[in-house]
Symmetry: C2
Subunit: 307 residues, 2 copies
Amino acid sequence: MLILIALGGNALLKRGEPVTTAAQWSNIRSATRAIASVAGDHQLVITHGNGPQAGLLALQAAAYKEAEPYTLDIIGAATAGMIGYMIEQELGNFLGYDVPIATMLTRVCVDADDPAFRNPTKFVGPVYDAIGAQELAREKGWTFKKDNENWRRVVPSPEPQSIVWHRPIRWLVSQKALLICAGGGGIPVIRHAEDGRLEGVEAVIDKDRTSSLLAQELSADLFVIATDVDGVYDSFGTPQQRLITNTTPQELGDGSYSSGSMGPKVDAASWFVRQTGKRAVIGSLNEIENIICGRSGTSIEANPKGP
Amino acid sequence: MLILIALGGNALLKRGEPVTTAAQWSNIRSATRAIASVAGDHQLVITHGNGPQAGLLALQAAAYKEAEPYTLDIIGAATAGMIGYMIEQELGNFLGYDVPIATMLTRVCVDADDPAFRNPTKFVGPVYDAIGAQELAREKGWTFKKDNENWRRVVPSPEPQSIVWHRPIRWLVSQKALLICAGGGGIPVIRHAEDGRLEGVEAVIDKDRTSSLLAQELSADLFVIATDVDGVYDSFGTPQQRLITNTTPQELGDGSYSSGSMGPKVDAASWFVRQTGKRAVIGSLNEIENIICGRSGTSIEANPKGP
């Protein structure tokens, strides 16, 4: 079975934990231990978030005044390298060297006319006071919005349209390689209509939506969004809260599931199910074995088996 | 013909040029234009340096006091991502989308007992005064040496022993993909004898030596070290200087060629020729077509054809 597992940022760094190298290695070791437990029985493609790591690069760049900061496409590529390396290394240490592992950069096309470019919403980088934000807005053309008492840069989060070069990904999968790709939602590029040229853009693509698209393009049999909670809850945060174990995109469409970060995951998983008729699961990475055999997480299917 | 082209740092950023995004895109566009001119006729694997880019990340990290700087293996992986992306993008723009291009992270094993670990020689990161250097030496265990008037961190530059996972590289090459890999000399790791576990180390591997090793392991037909000069000179810098056009590893072993950066290139090229009996060339990237057909650069062969 070909399974795409999207690792949430919290699988790599716990909420609120400082971005230290030691903490990242330790969390990645836990995450890859879980992944390794199912790698013998299934063909895996792993994707991952990059929020805290991209944030740290932005903070470091802002602190060094002698050079301009890198654009977000390049920062995305840098974090795909650093996080991909750490996952590859620890997965290899668990699996030994019979399973070849490859980390590939992945560019993802977005639409230059995506409405997200006119309404940037995703916070990145350091906080500024009003004057600092105004200066940077003038100097670099960045957009700022208020984040509590301070100002932060906001960037667009456009829809992923297509994976650039999924053929190499497919070839490696067909050779039974375990593939790590589409880190941080992929490197965002636009295609110029006049000559077909690709160019990087200042944007961040939601990693669950890119993972869903990749799972669709690779005809994955199962799409798992792995996070640090055990699934989607009905009436979350109330005394009546109840884990949803089996559901459909239709049911979720009407649900009251959407706590802050769960909404985009539900949408990305439902998108995969609607497009492919295959199953998607949102659940805890530690339960990955049970997720695969349908005993943990919120399983989303077009026609779910009974309760 | 399978050709491995190692791009020097100067192909990506001219000597002394500031590390701006615009300068990097512009230089990478020139470099990839040259590479694209031969990609139709040959199967290519591209490697590249990362000196200025890794240096900038180190400077940015040093400027931001709230987080510890990343270790050199992780910085190497980050630069492989960012530079690999830029090369992949511009190559794709020249070649169109019939030639699939893939950028893969590459780890390279070094020997924990390599004498380089006892005698670090490679400068990285910012300059410090004596007191700043002493503090960091005590705090982080880094080694410092004098660089002109100031102090800079020095790190080991061990010999590459083996490429981790060259099977995926080989599969992609066999599918006619153009591969970008082993950026910055590869991510340096050591293998623990007791359990086979791989671990990153604070080191920088010479990118020409790693490229030579990779060319050997892939059985490349030709190994090109592309730089910004037209080859190796006899009596360089004197009125008698003369470009060496055809030579052997034996002749070079005795030569007076070695200006600062040329020595390691000559050694890496000669190593490939001795191990494989195939040809290596050191020359100017702009002359890549002529290099391949033997009309430019310094061609090194076990049994050279006459002048």
